[in-house]
Amino acid sequence: MIPTQLRTRLEQHVAAAVTSREAAVQVMKELQGHYGWLTDEAVGEAAQLLGLSPLQVEELATFYEMIYRRPVGKRVVHVCDSISCWAMGGESLLAQLAAHLGIGPGETTGDGMFTLLPCCCLGNCGESPTMMIGDNLYGWLTLEKAVEILQQESRSMME
C-alpha cells in the first residue's frame, strides 16, 4: 500500500492529464521512487490509479528502460553504449566498471548499492563517454573518474 499522500498526489496528477496514459510514466516513476523499483504490486496500483488494465501498465513499464521491473540497487549506473560513447571508449568503460564492481552488466553489487546497466543514448554525446546515476549525468569519463563518482555516490548514500 502506498501512503495516502502519494496516492492523492498521483490521483490529482492523473485527473489533470488529458488521457490517463499520458500520466502513466509519471505515476510509474513516482511509484518506483516509493518502492525502489516497480514491483508487481506497484503495477497493480498504477493500473488502478490510471484506470488501465495491469497489462496496459505493464506494456509501458517494460518499454521504458528507466522503469525497473526487477529489483535494483540503491543507485543505478547507466553507462551509455550508443555510437558516440562507444567510439570514445564507452564499451571498455562499462567492462572496467563491471570489473571494478565485481558484477556483470545488469547485476547488482552484493551490498545492494549499485546496479550496472548499459543504456541507449543519454543525449550527452558531446561529453562522451558518459553515464548517469539517478538524475545526475556525468561526462568526459575515464575509469578513475567514474570510480571516484561511484565512491562519492556511495558516500552520499551513507549519510
Binding site: 503495477v43 488501465l52 488494465s53 495491469p54 497489462l55 496496459q56 505493464e58 506494456e59 517494460t62 518499454f63 528502460e65
Partner: protein, 644 residues
Amino acid sequence: MSLQKGFMPKLIIDNIAVEVAEGVTVLEAAQSVGIHIPHFCWHPALGKAGACRVCAVKMVDGPVKGIQMSCMLPAQDGMVVSTTDQEAMAMRRQVIEWLMINHPHDCPVCDEGGECQLQDYTIAGGHGLRSYTGKKRTHINQYLGPHIEHEMNRCIQCYRCVRFYQEFAGGTDFGVMGSAGRIYYGRVEGGQLESPFSGNLVDICPTGVFTDKTARFRARYWDYDMAPSVCPHCSLGCNTVPAARYRELLKIVARRNDAVNGWFICDKGRFTNSVVNDPARPRYPLVDGRKVGWDEALDNLLLRIREFGAVHGPESLAIVGSSRLAMEAATLLYRLFAGIAAGSLCYFTLEEEADQARAAITHLNDATSASMGDVQEADLIALVDCDLLQDGPMMALAVRQAWRKGAKIFLVENDVAPEAQKGLPFEWQSVSLLSDIPIREARKPVIICGRGKGMQDVAPALTSGVKLAYLLGGPNAFGAALLSAGHGATTLAQAVASGKVKGILAVEVDIPPELLQGISFIAALDWRATAIVKAAHIVLPTTAWVEMDGTYINNEGRAQRFKKVMHPGLPIMGLDPAGHPPRRHETAPPGGEPRPAWQVVADIIERTGTERDVQPLSGQWQWLRHLDAESPGQRIWQNMKQVK
C-alpha cells in the same frame, strides 16, 4: 496533395494504370488490379502499422522515389510503381530473411504449417536456406485458456494480434510488452483471455503464435473438408468456414462478408464444435429406443400418427419447427401439416421469441433494416433491451467500430441490462427512455433491439432515416417468423395452453418440459441430443448444419446459403479401441444415417401419399435455390414481392 473533393489519384503499378480513391494506399491500389504485394502487418480490417517491412516496392517515378513501404504510402497522382523491381525484390527477400532469424523452424509440429502466411512468403520470397549462424531468441509461452495455444518463438512482431485485440476488439488483458529484441505478446500472467473475440487471434496471426487449441495437432489445411458456411449460434448469421476431417468438425474460421461479420467471428461461433462431434448425438432412427432402418422408422411414424389420429383425432397433433431449422425444412413443414391434417403448426415454442420475431418482420424492410455493416457506419446507436454479448457478440464488435469512429452509444436502462453491461467493448451513455435519445439529430442512427419489454417503444421512435436491428432467437428466426405469419401459425405455448395438443412432431426444436405435460406421443427430428429427443417415441436423426446444404435468413432479413462441409457419421477418432481406424472395407460410414431435416420431412410427406418427389424451397421461396454460398447473401425484399 490535392484537397479537391472526389479527386481520384491515377498511378501506374507494374505497367497497369490504376485509379483509386483518395487516401487508398499503394498496396490496396495494387490489390484492386490483382497485383498481390506480400504483407504481414497490414490487414484490411486493421489498416497499416509499418512494422514488418515486407511490402517494399520500388517507386520508379512520381512524387516519391526509391524503395517504399506500399502499405504506408497513400497513392498519389503520377506514381509509377514496380513490384517486381530487382531492388524491391532483394529488399523483400532480405526482410524475410531477418524475420526468419529467430524463427524456430518447427513447421512440422506447428498447426499453422500449410496455412501460414510466413511460410508462404518465405518460400515465395526466395529465402530457402538459412545463412545466419547466430543463435535464436526464445520466449516462454503463456497459458491463454482452453481455446488458444501460445507459441511466442514463432513471432515476427507484426503487431496484428495486439492491434486487433486492444484496438479493434477492445480487450485489455492482452498486449505487447518490452521493446526491441524482447518484444513479447501476451498477458501479464498466463490465464484465460477475457475478450469474447480472442479466437480471431488465430485467424489474424500471420504465423503460428496463436493456434486453435481445440484443433491442436489434428490435421493440415490440405486435408480439411471445407465449405462456405454460416454460423448457427445466434441470429446474426456470421459467415464461417468450418474445417472437418475424418467426419469430425475440427475448427471454424471466419469468412469475410463486409455486410455481415466483416473479417471476424466471436468465440462462441468459433469454439462450439463439440455439439457436432458429440458422441451422444442421435445417429440412428429409433422406435421406442430400438435401432431401426429408415424405412421401418418412417412406416412406423406414419402408423403411429394414424393410430394417434384414431384415438385423439388428427387435430390433436402439433407440428413444431424452430428458429434453428433451416429454410429448406421450414418451408416443407406446412405441406406436412396439410398432408397429415394436423391440428397446429408452430414455428416458435414460446410467445416471447415469436413476438420479437414478429416485430422484426413487421418493422424491417430494405430501407430500415440495419446490417452489421450499417451499424459500423452509424453515428448514433441506441441499445434497447440488449444482451449483446449473449445474443449476438459480433454486434457488440460492430458497435465498437462505430464508437471508435466517434458514434454516440446510448443504452436504454432496462431489466436485461445490469449483468449484460459488463464487458461491452465500448463506452455508452445510459438513458431511461428511448425517447430521451436525440435520434433526430443523428445522420445515421441505428436502434438495436433485443428481447424484452422495451421493444414496444421502438415503433414510435421509427422515423425516416432510422435503421433498426433485432437480435433474434435463432439463426433462422427471421425465416421462421415469415413462414409463421404466412401460414397463420401459432406458438406451441399457445397451442398447449388451448389444451388440444396431445401429440408433438418436433422438428429440430427444444421444448421446455412444462409444455410436454399431458403429451402422449412425441416424434422428434433432431441432430442434438436434446431432452425431447430422449423423451421421444420415435427419433429420426437429422444432419447438423455442417453436414448439409441449407439456407438461413438472419436477423436483418438476409438469406444466406451454407454448404455441406462433411459427411455425417461417427468420427474415425475413437472408433476402434486398437487406436487406428478399423481394418475393414465399408461403403458407408458408421453412424452416417442422419439425413437433412428437409429430406426427412419430404419423406414423411411422400409417405402420406399426397405428393410425390417433394422438393424444398418451392413457390415464393424458389429464388433461394439459386443463392450462391460465396456471395454476401441476398436480402429477402429484393426477391420477394409478397413479403412486406
